[in-house]
Symmetry: C2
Subunit: 463 residues, 2 copies
């Protein structure tokens, strides 16, 4: 049903799409900014992005140059991280500053942090010095920490202020007020430390002349280096839309919003799933060919080395293979099936890690749980493939060799698959990137070894 | 750095954990609810969940029975979807109603919708009839549509109301007001259709006696069957924290919040990544062994059939294999490397689909882009593996056979990997679940066929 509607949506977009790209191209050639804006206007933001990325690189640059800064900023904001950096990098510094000015400070800082120092400084020089200093400070925080995810603007008032001052602030701060959306007003002391938070209900029931200190409650704060995992936990545990972030010395540094945390979690989940598939960086097909090719190759070349190591096991048993050539039919099967079983275990562990319900020190418990599944599934698959081998080649002992090898290797595969991500996490390595290839190589080697050594042992019965 | 801090966090938790589980067990045996609550209190919500899931099923049930309904509800809310349903299913109906009462209506409806009809009705009978009717209605909406993601409570006022009425509403609605968090007040006409939305600034600057109709603006609304993709686009394109959801007849049905959409997107990304790895449903290791085993086996058995099909290609060329046994060493390598290349292409397409920057009808353009990468990477990998084969076995023609086969198969693999998810999407199939096995089988078959048929052709040179 959901997919159905998706489909309808896509089809509707389709009717207008083929001429659309040509119309945009035409408008670009005529430098007709208004035409481009009106062509893009009815599209959802992902549709606008799709049109932008379907253009050549020069046309993309031209489009972002021509349209109003707000639309350019929307596109930069919607683009995958790396693409966004690339788009800004290719803008002239003055234009880049104009576009960045339309973005929230957390995204500004992300982009500034990813540019070359020289380009970053060229852009920062267009901002007023105070804002530039703020951005440099923000850019220095680690991604996926409260410092990296917060906006620098806090909706804060001194502890001497009155309710009336806050209400006037809410009413008057126009566009800037937009940046505070969902924030409660914070009360800070003379040293800029958040000492209170004021509820809307409090504001509406108090007298305008009341001091904020009489209606405020103590705020929950997080430190600039609070991790994304911890932030997710905090927001899961309450209804706040934002939390004030404090520096080591207790001064308020900014505010991290629930939606910034949600967006970062989504991005992390997607990039971790990509890494497991051997996609490095956030590749989109609009990137230059050589870049996409080089990155994929880097991962594949590492994989080829691991494959050679695994294949050397087969090579060591060429005599056995030559004697019972039917085994060659089953080698890739045993290796693939074990790989699948192992991957299932990796998937479950990665998910449990991301939910926070498993930790590296649970490795032994995880291993026990995996072995139980491994024994059952290993037996089932072993019997199945053993029967297939027997039926196919007519030799019951061949069935025994293949079935036994797959059964044992399934247990090995789920053990490694379940536990390795935890060990990698413990060693501060990224469990997503390394689990896959490591798992495949080891299960391949073990699978080949099991099949071929069992066959060597039982050789007289196989001939 | 992030990982580092993660680590520290985990270690801190570790010190208190081993005794913690025993302390909880002890408190459970003594039916000491307060003790359990105070043990869990300092943990973040994911930590509480981890403790719960590390208990036996009976102890889990007992814990949720003993603690206050609010904590039980927090745990149900934090649990993965299926686990949450299971936890509620095992509660006595009265208790389940108590716990559900603490949850937002979208989650209530999700849970009700997933229970057996009988159990659902037993629980619903404890709610007041109007609320129960609301929940039945909510439960009927598709997941991942505005109807399925919204809360039924809208912070709405009749078009005859005054500013003062809204301000009084904000101040007085106590706990219920919590459920409206982030919602602007909506104005509805006599037929319950949303005709206006009122900004906080408007409320604060107007006189209390002013009619809402004088300060309201026309609200953006979504229909109950708006898809998650469309909702993501809408929220990306503006700053709203929530949007009113209307029935087909235009009446307001509820409000969908930005954070509900974000959470659903995160869940979908994670479950799609799991499906690609052959994990069906949201398995956590706290589930019963037989269930985990059976589900994994279902997927593996389908895979074994595909593997047999691929292996039959090898079987058809046993003579060639017997003549040049060295080929058996390279068969799994060609199959694995092509599979990796294809998976990279699948990953990029899945990501572009989720970003909305590619659509099924872009298949041809995607294919062209993939073929370019495939040719470059195929040549590079082919030369590499060809040299390895030559160096290893001393026969340049063996190198040629293996290298050529891998080169061609890489192009095939990236073509299939890039395009198949788009075709599956076009056919309303889930691209995540089917791409992997389909891809592997076809690239395996093609790889085996290429190596073995090329070898058969060049047989005299290989001996």
């Amino acid at each position: 049903m959901t997919d159905d509607q998706d489909q309808i949506e896509l089809d509707t977009a389709e009717d207008s799409q083929r001429p659309m790209r040509e119309q945009i191209k035409e408008a670009l050639d005529q430098r007709d900014a208004e035409k481009i804006e009106s062509l893009l206007a009815p599209l959802p933001i992902s549709g606008k992005m799709r049109q932008l990325l379907s253009l050549s690189q020069d046309d993309r640059d031209l489009l972002l140059e021509l349209v109003n800064a707000e639309l350019a900023a929307d596109l930069v904001e919607e683009a995958p991280h790396e693409t966004a950096t690339d788009l800004v990098e290719r803008m002239e510094a003055g234009r880049a500053a104009e576009v960045l000015d339309e973005l929230d400070s957390d995204l500004q800082a992300d982009l500034i942090g990813d540019l070359d120092t020289e380009e970053a400084e060229a852009i920062l020089s267009r901002f007023d010095p105070e804002e530039a200093a703020d951005l440099r400070r923000l850019a220095a925080y680690e991604d996926d920490t409260a410092g990296g995810l917060m906006v620098a603007e806090a909706f804060s008032f001194p502890d001497t202020a009155t309710v009336g001052a806050v209400l006037r602030g809410m009413v008057s701060e126009d566009d800037d007020f937009e940046r505070y959306r969902g924030q409660h007003p914070y009360v800070v002391d003379a040293d800029d430390r958040p000492v209170g938070v004021v509820s809307l209900r409090g504001l509406l029931t108090a007298k305008r002349s009341d001091k904020l200190t009489t209606i405020m409650t103590t705020p929950m704060t997080v430190s600039v280096d609070t991790t994304l995992d911890e932030l997710q936990d905090l927001f899961d545990g309450n209804n706040y839309l934002g939390l004030p972030v404090v520096e080591k010395d207790g001064r308020i540094a900014g505010v991290v919003s629930r939606s910034a945390v949600d967006a970062a979690a989504l991005e992390r989940a997607e990039s971790s799933s990509l890494k497991r598939q051997g996609v490095v960086g956030d590749e989109v097909r609009a990137m230059p060919l050589w870049l996409r090719s080089r990155r994929r190759l880097a991962w594949l070349s590492a994989n080829i080395v691991l494959n050679i190591i695994a294949a050397s096991v087969i090579s060591a048993y060429e005599e056995t293979l030559a004697a019972v050539i039917a085994i060659a039919v089953f080698l890739p099967m045993v290796s693939d099936m074990s790989g699948c079983s192992g991957n299932q275990a990796v998937g479950v562990t990665m998910r449990e890690l991301s939910l926070g319900i498993v930790q590296p020190k649970d490795a032994f418990r995880v291993w026990l749980k995996e072995v139980s599944v491994g024994v059952i599934n290993g037996l089932a698959l072993g019997v199945l493939i053993g029967l297939v081998a027997f039926a196919w080649k007519g030799n019951p002992y061949l069935g025994l060799v293949i079935g036994l090898a797959l059964a044992i290797n399934t247990v090995i595969a789920v053990s490694i698959g379940g536990v390795v991500p935890l060990l990698l996490k413990r060693l501060n390595q990224d469990p997503a990137a390394a689990s896959g290839p490591l798992l495949t190589t080891i299960t391949d080697m073990a699978g080949f070894f099991l099949v071929l050594s069992l066959a060597t042992l039982m050789m007289p019965l196989l001939l």
